[in-house]
Structure formats: C-alpha cells, structure tokens
C-alpha cells in the first residue's frame, strides 16, 4: 500500500503529521537537535513564555510518582523579548510548524506577549496556556471558569495574528462548558490537557518533595483523565482538538485520535525517550498501512461504544 496521508489541518495550519511536542518538555527545540531529525515532527510547541524573564521556583522542582511525575518549574522562561530575539531564529530553519505557548498572570500579560509575537512569520500558531493562576481574579486558573476563559480568549483572539489554541486544565468539575466558552470566544483549536494538581511527601524525612509544595502531575498516570477530557470535548465543540497527557507511543496517539483528537503532543515521554516522537510517527504510519487506512484523519473520534 502507498504511504498513508498523515497531514492534519488545524485552524488553517497544515501539520505534516499529528505528532507535536508539548510545551515545557522540549525546551525551544535546541536540545533535541542531536537526538532526532526535528524536521520530521508535525510541530514543536515551545516552553511557555511570559512578559518578563522568569527564573522559576527554587529546586527541588520535580518528583517522580507512580507512572508519573510532578513538576513545579515555575514557568521559567527567557521572556518574550529574548524569545523573539534569540529563539525564533533557530526555530525558523527547522522545517516543522512552530507553535508558541504563551502564559500570563493577567489578561494584559497575555495581550502584551501575543502582541510582541505578531508579525513574526516563523510562528505558525499560538497556544494559550490559560491554566495559570489568575492573579487579578480569585487566584483560580483562567480555565477554571467559562466566563474567565471566554474573556481572555476573546480579547486575545481580537489582537492575535495567528490561529489561537487555548490549552485547558483538567482541574475542573466539568470541562465541557470551558471548551464551549473558548470556542465561542473564537478559538481555532483546543489543546488538552495540562497537568493535574498533585503533591508528594517523603515518608522518611517528612519533607514535602517540591519547594512549591504542589506541582503538576504528568505522564502515563494521567492518560485516562486526558482521554476522557478529549472525548467529552470532542462531543461538545466543532473546532479541532489537540490531545495531551501521558502519550508514550503510537498506540497512545491512536487512542487519543479515536477519542477525538486531530493531533497530539508528547510531553513527559521526551524525557524518557528523546526519539519517542519519531518512533511514534513511524509506528503510526505502519499501523495505518497494516489496516489499509489511507488517511490518518479517518481515526478521529472513531472510538466505538460497546
């Protein structure tokens, strides 16, 4: 059988395949250059950038848990100016799509950062990390209430040159109204999920393992939560979904696409196998070939109830 089509279109951007890297787990791409052919990736989502440079939290910043890990890096990043100045140039030449993840602690910050990105052609899409605490509001995440999510997304949508993809938190009672609010606010796609809240204590030393006390839980442990979120949102909105959470190999990519994702992001897996994304693209191709599926898009949302 001839090569299956792996291309997926998300918000008008054509990705060579549905495999991207997740924000915060792939740096700005540089470190992986020696391990994999970056041009083969569907896309790279870079580490969250903010208005100013952020040093991040005091270490220890991570802790391993059962089939997962906690992180409280603290949104360490170079700041939008240095990003545009120093990082875009490397990313420009890679031959893959570049998604810039933007974080903020109030709506002004989101707007400020996106405004600085506007006009830079090497950027293909903006991912809006609305899973940060909203310092102007009640300290809750932007994506924990539909009204707040609507407000930030619609305001950014108005000034953003690029397709806009809010990234949702799983730390909610019901993700559907949040997804709906983002769609109504003009989002071109949705990325889900960000990490779950978690915490760990050493039973021998009695010490809380992260200086920041709580952190974000990622890795295979959270995959069932992510699959469930993708499935629910797929049955709620019309815009494409990018699935994230515990993806380790091509079988997980298939599982997310069957649940309704049009593309996926590999996060924690990059730490364990730096070539996990490339292996997954190869595995996905073979999977489609063996089943005579001509187009990867034919997997989307095809999970069957029993």
């Amino acid at each position: 059988m001839s090569s299956p089509n792996l291309k997926v279109n998300i918000g008008g951007v054509e990705f060579a395949n549905p495999v991207m890297t997740a924000s915060g787990t792939f740096g700005y791409g540089e470190e992986f250059n020696e391990y994999i052919d970056l041009s083969r990736l569907g896309g790279i989502v870079t580490k969250s950038i903010t208005r100013h440079e952020r040093k991040g939290h005091r270490p220890p910043r991570t802790a391993e848990t059962a089939s997962g890990m906690l992180n409280a890096i603290g949104l360490a990043n170079v700041g939008v100016d240095a990003y545009v100045r120093d990082k875009l140039q490397f990313l420009r030449g890679l031959g893959t799509k570049i998604v810039v993840n933007v974080a903020g602690f109030d709506i002004d910050e989101f707007i400020y950062v996106v405004d600085k990105l506007n006009g830079h052609e090497e950027i293909d899409m903006v991912e809006l990390n609305i899973s940060c605490p909203n310092v102007k509001g009640d300290g809750m995440e932007f994506s924990s209430k539909p009204e707040i999510a609507y407000e930030v997304v619609s305001k950014v949508r108005k000034i953003c040159d690029f397709p806009l993809m809010p990234k949702l938190s799983p730390n909610v009672a019901d993700i559907k109204p949040i997804a709906k609010a983002c769609e109504e606010a003009g989002a071109d796609a949705l990325a889900l999920i960000n990490t779950l809240y978690g915490m760990a204590i050493d039973p021998y030393t009695w010490k809380i393992k992260l200086t920041n006390v709580t952190g974000g839980l990622s890795g295979p442990a959270i995959k069932p939560v992510a699959i469930q979120a993708v499935w629910k949102v797929y049955n709620t909105v019309k815009i494409p979904i990018v699935g994230i959470g515990g993806i380790m190999d091509y079988r997980d990519v298939v599982e997310f696409m069957l649940a309704g994702a049009k593309a996926v992001q590999f996060g924690t897996a990059n730490f364990i196998q730096p070539d996990c994304t490339i292996t997954a693209i190869d595995g996905l191709t073979e999977y489609l070939q063996q089943r005579n599926i001509a187009d990867v898009n034919d997997l989307i949302g095809k999970a069957v109830k029993i």
Binding site: G24, T25, F26, G27, E31, F32, Y35, K55, G56, R58, P59, P60, R61, T62, A63, E64, A66, S67, G68, M69, N71, I73, A76, G219, P220, A221, M248, T268, N270, F271, I272, P274
Partner: protein
Amino acid sequence: MGAGAYLLSIKLKLKTFPHPGEFLHIKPTSEGNDPLLRRAFSIFDYDEQNGTVDVLYKVFGRGSAILSRVAAGHVLDLLGPLGNGFPIPEKSKQLLLVGGGVGIPPIYLLAKTCLRNGHDPKLIKFLMGFGKAEDCVMGERVAQLPIEQALSTDDGSRGHKGFVSDLLKAKLAGGLAGDKTVIYACGPEGMLKSIQGLAKEYATPCYLSLESIMPCGLGTCLGCVVKQEGEDKYLRVCREGPVFEANEVEL
C-alpha cells in the same frame, strides 16, 4: 562492593575515552511505566579493550534497587555519556581528589585519566570518606592506583574518625593550598558544602560534581537546576554541570 553498593559493568563501545565526571542516564526497567524516569550514574571506569563501562552505585530507592536485581546479560536502556565533566588540570598542579561514598566513581576516573595523561603520581592525593569500615571495599579499585591515599569513616571503624573534609583541611593547612593546587570533589551535599567553604578559606581552585534530581538529563525539563552564586539565575546540573567551579554555585 560494600554495604548496599553494586558494580554494574555495561558493554558499551564509546567513540572516545569518557571524560571524568560524565554520567549515564539509565532506565531501571524496560517493563511498564513505573518507575518512569531514567537515573543518573557517573561513569566509574572504562575498559577500552572490551568496551565496557563500569558504574558503581548504591541502592537508594526503587530504581537502583531494580538495577541491583538485573540479571547478567540483560540489555539496558541508557543515554550518554552526558554532561560536562571535570576540566583536566595542567600537569604541574597538585591535585587533591576528594570522594565521599558513591561520589568516588567520577573522582577515580579523573585520577586514572590524569595518570594516563602523564600527571606525576606524586602530585595526586586521593581522599576518601565512607560511613563505616564495610563501605570501604567500594574504594578497592582506587587502592590500586599508585598515588597517595587516605580515608575516613564517620564512625571511625577504619581510617580517620570523622569527615573526609577533615583530611582535606589537614592537607590545605599543611601547605598544599593556593593556586598551585586544585581540589576536585564529589559526594553528599553536606560534604560538598564544607569543601566549598575550605576552598574559599584557603583560596584554592576547586571543582565540585553535583547531584540533583534529573528527570531528562538533556537540559530540557529545567528540573535539575542549582542556583548560581551571586546571580539571580539557575544553572542546569545536567547540562551546564554536573561539574561546577566551587564558587559558581550556591549549595
């Protein structure tokens, strides 16, 4: 290899002799996702003829416990050599090498490398610290090096009773201090902290190999950082390190 310490010999052809201080990032299991992350272990030794890399480690938690039960002939999943090792000293320098427990491996490899490079054995002193007498077998390979050696145990069951930093302090106080000397150290954080203090007190150049929880080992997760001395900045132990100049980092 002494109480709870193991030697892992891995068949692995390297392009060049490993740089002392470099580490391997080893996945403790190929089955299932728990434990999830790789573990960092310094390269202890390299046998060019047979292409085997040795790692000397202590059973600390789950990952190292699983490694200790791996059967001979098992295929390990690893990345490396990773990181920036010790700068190789000029041949004229007096070297004070300090290793505490499982901090000995990279220091041993440094001693061996210097000797291979023709560093005068008389200019190398190897100071080792252990918990108790039983742990000292860990230093058996070091014992074969034709250099001056001294050791301490916390409980005095062998060698000097006390810390290996006491031995270092004696050397420094005895005149081996200043610009003509270089201190190299690896071991528990408390030990590195006192050595950092001594290096400052005796104005002696000093390099420390640090440990840190390392999820990726590749410089990308920003999990392994250490605070840069005097700067509002963090350095990645896996990438900028694991070896740092003693006055560069805040312990």
